[in-house]
């Protein structure tokens, strides 16, 4: 809501308050003032009259003007505007004048001729194009010579000098979408007296049409009719007030309606009486069919839309826009003026469906106060007479208007203080409520606040506590800390702590942590790897196809991140993310990792390609961190997954369920995302791991006898996986405590693996014979798998 100070001052005496004080008072009390500035900040612009106008030789558009600006002698000005002509009264920027863009006017040569100033349009003075007159769009401004004095301040004469406050009205304060509402609110904020201006209702004959309604969506419908009108351009003062308030002037009848609406908040609708088909205006909600609004567009109306019809023909989309046919025009001489009250939710629904909003629909949506309908019509009647010369204005005809019972809220000062955490005196609280234009009375020993009809947001005591504190000032509350102490040790859940530990672990190892969108495209969703998937969760109203499915895997998002970074020249990448994912009826906490290109070097240790074992190492590290020993999970090769390298990928299972798939990505996937090579990925159901209880720590007695190491180097001709060989060695002798494969070589002729065997006896030092015996057994076990001792 834009409020121009000059008009506001007509309603409330704020002359002793600066713009800043007004803005700050409104803001603190809940109506944020986004900005405040005059419509035009131009200085040094005066009203001037063109005395002579001659074409400049050798120029197809320039004129040499002699302009009277109220000084002793006229000034010589070169001007290119097509509408420059002798006799025209226009705006002149004198040398030294400053325009809103920061430009300063100087006298100087134009086309070799001295120009001692510049003739201006309102656009050059900072007005938005949509508010400008036709002459201003193509040339210089044209004043009505009778309304201005030569030499006076042109910005002032245009009504562009007064400060405009841009208010962000809260959605529960529809009453502030009017000048009267804002004046009243400001009077509360500043503690000034405020009185509504009376307007005498017209005392004519019965109106030419009668209001009616067949729907409860129209609770009241008042109207007047007026005859003998002359529609024309509105006077300058009215136009400038509308422009300053953000409404484009159209013609006098429409402008009067908008002006009255801005003043009281009651939306009005103007009908050309000559275009109405019957002698009624009836609100109905059962019309369906085509309807052409005054902007010339055809709309499809459905049952439920509120329409005002006359003689059964729709004339207005209620609260939104008149029909093209019934709207007023230059030839209109008779009008009907509607001041009705429609159900906000219904107006809003229709407005949203049609994508058609107006100043009226905005106000109805937020709720209007029917108590002002009659007075608004009185204001309109007076203006129709004074501006359009209306001869006959009817009295007000009225459908359904009845005095609504005012809301009364019993309250206690103690309870309000308790809610606020304050100890204000009852006088102070009651004073604040009265300043807010509530009536406070005492009934049976308790206090009751009577709410004015325009404050539809005040319903119960809690609302009064807000009114009291917003007017007393929140800064008056002494801060304290909550007294509430939970009867247990609160904080992050164990799950969350473990999740954070995993995140820190990966960060410490050098991986970057990302956050990506949960809503993904069908294309991305098709690359999900941890199967089987549940049915997707999808918004029924996605904004774009790129964000139309809730992801069930995080990995595709990370592939996209890697792809983006690779496209920007970064090939050596390591990212991870933990995130909830959603499918129909379930959610999982996932961890995903992507590694591409090279693992970063460490100082002089050269970087090298990421390998499967790096990724596996991270997974093992996480299991170790969470205290899950390897017997509790099962790891095996993943040979049949379409998105992974068939020979370089694996899965991790918990019981029968695969909780992770990882490894080198299939070349088709690498190509699809244009990833640097090699590219590896992991998708883990982290939630499943976090839900496991970690192995409890238990003290052990350090062994008393030393351990002995023996190495075995084995050549395999058959395919033997490491875990199988290690298990075979371990089982071969009770002295073998631990086995570590090292030095693995895979060549054309087979595979060579060296194993370190760590042997120990619990009850004594191993003797050479025992060691030899154990190593022989281990060798025998490996030979059964097809291995031979390397010579």
């Amino acid at each position: 809501m834009k409020i121009v100070r000059e008009w506001l001052e007509e309603l409330l005496d704020v002359s002793s308050y600066s713009d800043e004080e007004i803005a700050s008072a409104l803001t603190k009390a809940g109506t944020e003032v986004g900005s405040y500035a005059p419509l035009s900040t131009a200085t040094g612009i005066v009203v001037g009259k063109i005395l002579t106008c001659d074409k400049v030789e050798d120029s197809d558009h320039l004129h040499l003007l002699s302009v009277d600006v109220g000084e002793e002698k006229p000034r010589q000005i070169v001007c290119g505007a097509p509408n420059a002509r002798a006799g025209l009264v226009t705006a002149v920027a004198l040398p030294g004048a400053k325009l809103p863009g920061g430009k300063t006017i100087k006298s100087g040569a134009v086309h070799g001729i001295l120009s001692d100033g510049m003739c201006c349009s309102t656009l050059e003075l900072g007005l938005e194009e949509k508010y400008a007159d036709d002459c201003d769009l193509t040339g210089i401004h044209e004043f009505d010579p009778s309304s201005v004095k030569i030499g006076e301040d042109a910005v002032k004469a245009l009504g562009l000098d007064s400060t405009v406050f841009d208010l962000e009205v809260l959605s529960n304060r529809g009453d502030l979408l009017s000048y009267e509402g804002v004046a009243r609110e400001l009077s509360s904020d500043l503690g000034l007296p405020y009185e509504e201006k009376e307007a005498a209702a017209p005392e004519g004959k019965e109106p030419l049409v009668q209001p009616a309604s067949t729907t409860e969506k129209c609770s009241s419908f008042l109207l007047i009719t007026a005859e003998g009108l002359k529609n024309k351009e509105s006077p300058a003062w009215l136009r400038s007030r509308l422009v300053a308030s953000g409404i484009r002037p159209i013609d006098a009848i429409v402008d009067i309606g908008n002006y009255a609406m801005l003043l009281t908040g009651q939306p009005l609708n103007m009908y050309d009486l000559g275009a109405l088909k019957g002698n009624d205006l009836t609100a109905v909600d059962d019309y369906e069919g085509k309807f052409v609004t005054m902007d010339g567009k055809e709309r499809d109306l459905i049952k439920g839309d509120v329409v005002i019809s006359s003689g059964g023909v729709p004339a207005c989309l209620a609260g939104i826009m008149t029909s093209l046919e019934a709207s007023v025009g230059p030839k209109t001489t008779r009008v009907a003026v509607e001041a009705a009250s429609f159900a906000g939710a219904d107006i809003r629904r229709t407005s949203l469906r049609l994508g058609l909003a107006s100043e009226s629909s905005l106000r109805f949506s937020k709720g209007i106060d029917p108590a002002v309908s009659r007075r608004t019509l009185a204001i309109v009647a007076a203006l129709l007479k004074s501006i359009c010369g209306a001869a006959d204005v009817s009295k007000v005809a009225c459908y359904g208007a009845k005095d609504e019972k005012k809301v009364e809220i019993p309250f206690s000062v103690e309870r309000i203080n308790a809610r606020l955490g304050t100890s204000f005196s009852s006088e102070r609280i009651i004073e604040a409520l009265k300043r807010d234009h509530l009536i406070v009375k005492e009934e049976n020993g308790s206090l009751v606040a009577v709410v004015p009809s325009y404050r539809k947001d005040l319903l119960e005591e809690a609302d009064l506590s807000e009114e009291a504190i917003r007017l007393i000032g929140i800064e008056e509350i002494k801060s304290v800390l909550p007294h509430t102490v939970l009867p247990y040790a609160p904080g992050r859940s164990l799950q969350k702590k473990k999740q954070d530990a995993v995140r820190r672990y990966l960060t410490h190892l050098g991986l970057d942590e990302t956050i990506t969108y949960s809503l993904v495209s069908p294309k991305l969703s098709a690359y999900e790897v941890l199967l089987p998937k549940k049915e997707d969760v999808k918004p029924v109203n996605p904004l774009t196809v790129d964000h139309s499915i809730m992801r069930q895997d995080v990995l595709p998002s990370l592939l996209q991140v890697a792809s983006y970074n690779a496209a920007h020249g970064e090939n050596d990448l390591s990212f991870f993310e933990t995130s909830k994912v959603y499918g129909e009826g379930y959610s999982d906490l996932r961890l995903s990792i992507v590694l591409t290109g090279k693992r970063p070097g460490q100082g002089m240790i050269a970087s090298r390609d990421w390998s499967f074992y790096d990724l596996k190492g991270y997974l093992e590290g996480i299991l170790f961190l969470l205290g899950i020993n390897e017997q509790r999970v099962r790891l095996a090769a993943l040979s049949d997954h379409p998105l992974f390298h068939p020979g370089r990928s694996a899965y991790l299972a918990l019981g029968k369920e695969r909780i992770a798939v990882f490894g080198e990505l299939h070349p088709s996937l690498v190509r699809a995302f244009a990833l640097p090579k090699p590219a590896l990925g992991l998708e883990l159901d982290l939630g499943a791991l976090l839900a496991l209880k970690g192995n409890a720590a238990k003290a052990v007695v350090p062994p008393s006898f030393p351990s002995v190491r023996r190495d075995l180097s084995i050549v395999y001709e058959t395919e033997v996986v490491s875990s199988e060989a290690v298990m075979a060695i371990k089982r071969s002798s009770s002295f073998i405590e631990r086995v570590e494969p090292f030095d693995v070589y895979q060549g054309e002729d087979g595979k060579r693996v060296a194993y370190a065997l760590f042997l120990r006896k619990k009850d004594g030092t191993l003797v050479e014979g025992e060691i030899e015996e154990a190593v022989k057994k281990a060798l025998a076990a490996l030979e059964r798998l097809g291995g031979k001792l390397r010579q």
Binding site: R419, A462, N565, M604
Partner: protein, 343 residues
């Protein structure tokens, strides 16, 4: 006389010795079992008893003198040889170490982790809700009227049935109050991702993060909310920042307030960052609306509460001077590389 000659010869040779090896050669030559001193001791045996004493003492003295000089010279030689060897092992200490660089953390997490830390230190529980919510928890149980604009399908992602992608972490309020069955204190924060049907641009993102705060107990007042938010804002934005409370409106709180901090870019004078006002809006809060308590099983005549909601992305943008909210979700390595956990 012979004794003195041997001693002089030994000392002279020792003087000539230039390294530990030559010192040891001198030692072997003179102090060995078949060396000149050993020969002198043999002669000692042949002497008459009365001459043995003085002669023996003379041999001992001379041998000790030589021996001490040898040890001293040897120690000196070894030390200088070791020094020489160590100098040859010199490396360039300015070459890089073999450290493993830590990874970077998206600023979104830096902020949310810090917010959680602040409130955990003030005795709050941490409760994570779900991104997939239902209309009652996201709207109705928060006293958001049927025709409230935030419910419009143009603003909210709806799922089939009564599902909805939560538009605010306030959805946690209904769940937690109902879990408590209308009894006992609640003091929690609930961080999470939220979704609104906004086109992504400089300042809007269809996905963003929020942290909801909720305290419900007997006698929880606006003064307690004010004290809490003052501590939070100072911890998050710095002790020097000023805080302003403005009256506002949210359907689920009454009274409602909005909290601004003084603009860091201009110190409150007004600049483009704060749109000239000198203040930057950072969170909304208020006393829990009695209807919300009532609908979720708490008796508002006995219990009261406060709630607040902080935008994670917004705080990150202000704190780190991020120019475009989309950068957070781009995860550009060059952007991420500026962010590390503050220790």
């Amino acid at each position: 006389m012979e004794i003195e000659e041997i001693k002089a010869a030994a000392l002279e040779e020792l003087l000539k010795a230039s390294d530990s090896r030559e010192v040891l050669e001198v030692k072997n030559k003179y102090l060995a079992k078949k060396g000149p001193f050993a020969a002198l001791y043999k002669e000692l045996g042949k002497l008459p008893p009365e001459e043995k004493g003085p002669f023996g003492k003379a041999i001992n003295d001379a041998r000790n003198e030589v021996s001490l000089a040898l040890e001293a010279k040897l120690k000196e030689a070894l030390a200088s040889e070791e020094k020489e060897r160590l100098l040859k092992e010199k490396i360039d200490v300015t070459l890089p170490g073999t450290s493993l660089a830590e990874g970077h953390t998206n600023p979104f997490y830096l902020i949310v982790d810090e917010i959680i830390d602040i409130f955990v230190s003030m005795g709050y529980d941490v409760v994570e809700g779900e991104d997939v919510e239902t209309v009652p928890y996201n709207f109705s149980l928060l006293n958001i009227p049927e025709d409230h604009p935030s419910r419009d399908p143009s603003d909210t992602f709806y799922l089939k049935g009564d599902g909805v992608l939560r538009t605010q972490t306030s959805a946690a309020q209904g769940h937690e109050m109902q879990r408590h069955e209308g009894k006992g204190a609640i003091k929690l924060i609930s961080p999470g991702k939220c979704y609104r049907r906004d086109e992504d641009d400089l300042t809007h993102s269809h996905q963003f993060g929020q942290v909801e705060g909720l305290v419900v107990d007997k006698g929880v007042s606006l003064a307690e909310l004010k004290g809490t938010l003052e501590i939070f804002v100072k911890k998050m934005f710095g002790e020097k920042r000023e805080i302003r409370f403005r009256s506002s409106y949210f359907p689920f709180t009454e009274p409602s307030v909005e909290v601004d901090v003084s603009c860091a870019s201009c110190g409150g004078k007004g600049c483009p960052m704060c749109k000239g006002s000198g203040w930057i809006e950072i969170l909304g809060a208020g006393e829990v609306h009695p209807n919300v308590l009532r609908m979720n099983g708490y008796d508002p005549s006995i219990y009261s509460g406060f709630a607040f909601g902080v935008g994670i992305d917004r705080v990150a943008i202000l704190r780190y001077g991020i120019d475009d909210i989309r950068r957070i979700y781009s995860n550009d390595k060059r952007f991420l590389s500026a962010f590390k956990e503050e220790k």
